[in-house]
Symmetry: C2
């Protein structure tokens, strides 16, 4: 079999069953090999940033890697912004990057680029396969690397002659080593801190904010009196009635400081010390109160669940009580939008939140609603929302996906709508159309009395974007709403449709 087929068979054998792709000439043998009956699902995208974001969303919901196929350095470049986010989410992901044939690289044909330099900082494992005979082995190593703790991005570069060479073989993925437990000393110190009567915050990372990790974290919090926090940019939180509560550290520096000011000690389990998203003049970078004691019990490379389980978890978790907000009425307000989302949220929904300034209040309003998963932008590179929703919907075809999207961010990767239509994915996209990079207008106003040229750079009206037409242009049903009743109904209709749909909310 040729290298491309050995690659696909090794991927599927290693549990990598979905490939988000935008191939080119150098990847044509990979595409050709899709029909050889091994069960790989190819999902086409019209822009590579959709592929990397979708692979991220898929991994967040399944815990296992998808693969993403890119066309040489430039194809990978288009994926980088969402790979940046995926890297910050620490999701497992296998990138396959097609390259020129090994013997052709020296001629510096137009598409030649230093792929290693582009992928390096986001890849925990990176290799260019030297021959078709070694593609299977390299692929197996890539999968193993992506799945080892901390999970992450493995990038395999595939020169076209290694794809078409015919001495490929299927290779089993080697066993992944178990992550080490923190030292006994660290566990002992954490236990002592949790028993010393001081006000303690337990900052937990992305492996502990859903599923078993969350259940254990809830018990530890209840047993020790510690309060659970997660970073602002936490990849995946499971929440709603009947689950332990985890609070995200706020984005706004003053709010974060207020949130954390009363804690005397912080125990980090797979999370870093919370810092400001940006440097703002006259504001601190570190968000912890001065003089607080900090213990890094476990890093993301450690067995974070094991670390939690070594603490006191003798009491059952305190669970968020059910509370459903009423359906709102009247003209559109930020609070009303949150109420509309909360009052209609279906059981087991997956919420992708890239609503930026328009989504204030969404998390508070949905706190006691039916159980759901909440996925956010982890790396600050905007344009992740709709791609993430694609990946989540592919991962969980029986669950409704709600994508809360700002208009400015949404325009970055609007091509995702076409993939949603092609694949018939149950995604309801809400576009909050304030026709501005609203958050930046706030930043500008904080800096000076804004002039007209400056404001012009931050307003994305004139002409206004018509999201109904944009969605319809890619085959997605869409409507614009003008009241909260309208919006509530549109959400209900969207969920009921079982397919992709978009709601534009002018603000």
């Amino acid at each position: 079999m040729n290298g491309a087929e050995s690659l696909i068979r090794t991927l599927v054998g290693g549990g990598v069953e979905v490939c988000f792709m935008n191939p080119g000439t150098s990847e044509i043998h990979f595409v050709d090999a899709l029909d050889r009956g091994h069960g790989m699902r190819g999902v086409p995208v019209l822009f590579e940033g959709v592929a990397s974001g979708a692979a991220d969303g898929y991994a967040r919901m399944t815990g296992k890697p998808a693969c993403a196929l890119f066309h040489l350095g430039p194809g990978l470049s288009n994926a980088l912004a969402n790979l940046h986010n995926a890297c910050r989410a620490r999701v497992p992901l296998v990138n396959i990057v097609g390259d020129h044939a090994t013997y052709h690289r020296k001629y510096d044909a137009p598409l030649t680029a230093d792929i290693e330099a582009l992928a390096g900082q986001y890849s925990k494992w990176l290799r260019s396969s030297p021959s078709s005979a070694q593609v299977g082995r390299d692929c197996a190593l890539a999968i193993a690397a992506a799945c080892a703790t901390p999970t992450g991005i493995a990038t395999l570069i595939l020169p076209s002659d290694t794809a078409w060479g015919d001495d490929g073989g299927v290779v089993a993925v080697p066993e992944v080593a178990k992550a080490p437990m923190p030292s006994d000393a660290a566990v002992k110190q954490a236990r002592a801190m949790l028993a010393n009567g001081k006000r303690t915050a337990l900052l937990i990372g992305e492996t502990l904010t859903h599923g078993e990790g969350l259940a254990v974290a809830g018990k530890v919090a209840a047993s020790t009196g510690a309060r659970l926090f997660a970073p602002f940019n936490i990849a995946h939180v499971e929440r709603g009635a009947g689950l332990p509560q985890v609070d995200r550290v706020a984005y706004v520096v003053e709010q974060a400081l207020a949130q954390l000011k009363d804690f005397e000690q912080f125990i980090l389990v797979g999370a870093a010390v919370p810092v400001a998203f940006f440097a703002w003049q006259g504001k601190p970078s570190v968000l912890l109160p001065e003089g607080a004691e900090v213990l890094a019990l476990a890093t993301p490379s450690d067995d974070c669940l094991g670390a939690l389980e070594a603490l006191d978890m003798s009491k059952p978790a305190v669970l968020v009580p059910a509370s459903r907000v009423e359906k709102p009425q009247g003209p559109i307000t930020i609070e009303g939008l949150a109420a509309a989302v909360a009052s209609t949220l279906p059981e087991r929904a997956i919420v992708v939140d890239e609503s930026i300034t328009s989504g204030r209040g969404m998390m508070a309003a949905t706190k006691g609603g039916p159980r759901h998963d909440w996925l956010v932008n982890t790396g600050g590179s905007i344009g992740i929302g709709m791609p993430l929703a694609i990946g989540a919907a592919v991962a969980c075809p029986d669950r409704p996906v709600l994508c809360l999207e700002a208009d400015g961010s949404g325009m970055y990767t609007l091509q995702a709508l076409w993939t949603a239509a092609r694949e018939g994915l149950a995604i309801t996209v809400v576009i909050f159309a304030n026709r501005a990079y609203q958050i930046l207008k706030g930043e500008l106003a904080a800096v000076s009395q804004p002039g007209p040229k400056a404001l012009d750079m931050l307003e994305i009206g004139r002409p206004d974007l018509d999201w109904v037409k944009l969605a319809q242009g890619m085959g997605v049903a869409a409507r614009r709403v003008t009241s909260l009743e309208d919006f509530t109904r549109a959400l209900e209709d969207g969920y009921a449709s079982g397919g992709p749909n978009l709601v534009e909310v002018p603000l």
Copy 2:
């Protein structure tokens, strides 16, 4: 003045008067400084790939750099694919990349990235400014580097504290050194080759395919009997009746080999040996006939115009005679589309050609038409067309721009349409909607009997993209045509409108 203002004043003082931008929080002082009365024009874009492609188009038409402003590593990442193309076009360009404040970087906030690693391979000059006092000097050096032969990309990283720090100063751009002449020996050898009676091809680079370079190249060709060729991916060719003819080396290997097979010697002036765009199994990488003599008279780092002027240019150039094709009629065909474009092309039009498979015959049909400029994709990274058209239209507001765009490529950077509407640019975009990555279907068929899953990855219908709605959704007037008469009229109406407009041609 603060660093941001010193930057903008230094840019404008150095002739950099347009900034294509998508700023964020870390660039807010740059945005704020736009209103300080120094004449910098800010052009907003909704996606950074539009900014880099537009800066490229601007530079191709003016010969001088624009600047492009990006938001940290992820913002730059989105620009990379078109920076790859710009790098291959060897255009002057100044990137400004905002970064975290110098003291904030160590905290690894979510948007932190290794910007140098991302920009390195495309930047002939790269520096992170260490303090506001040095921003002006660094900016002046960046402009000088971008403008020195061979012109290229300079990337200046601007930590936010260097933008807000208040000891900035305006610095004059240092004089740019003149490019060196090729050695006397090389010139002597070229002269001897051109006098030896053998069939000679003169392969010229992007500085010699328009303006004075083209005029001189035409004289050399007429005086020596050499034939003028340019690389397939040549950045900017001026053509039409009354100009010397330059043929692009074909993309298809067999066609290129046939084009060049009868030449016994090749003289390269600012161009490389032509090579295949990709490696194809069983086909050569180098497109020259075996045994041909090759002389690299001048590299892009040399004074290419001077090199040509040192050759025999005693005779006037042979000029392409005027010949206008008739307006076509009837159902849409590839040949008819070329005739429609050729028969309506306005005087001094700028044609941006990213039509891929649908544009066959466009260059032949327009060969004897009114003078025009032809800009193509230089690096093979698709999605350059509409951004390039934006830049050309900003550079030449009194000239009509025709953008010939494939549907697959167009979807990469469709956000460009909004900027065309916002700025009221005279761009007529033609979308050739074959609803497939048609060129890849050809590649796949050459490799094997394509299966349904493979074909599915290369078809971008189901649902079909509706480009009329997509354009209208971004404020651009649009129509779909169903006959050649329709298409011809739509082109004429589009040029007459003096604004942005889009024509979808279903194929």
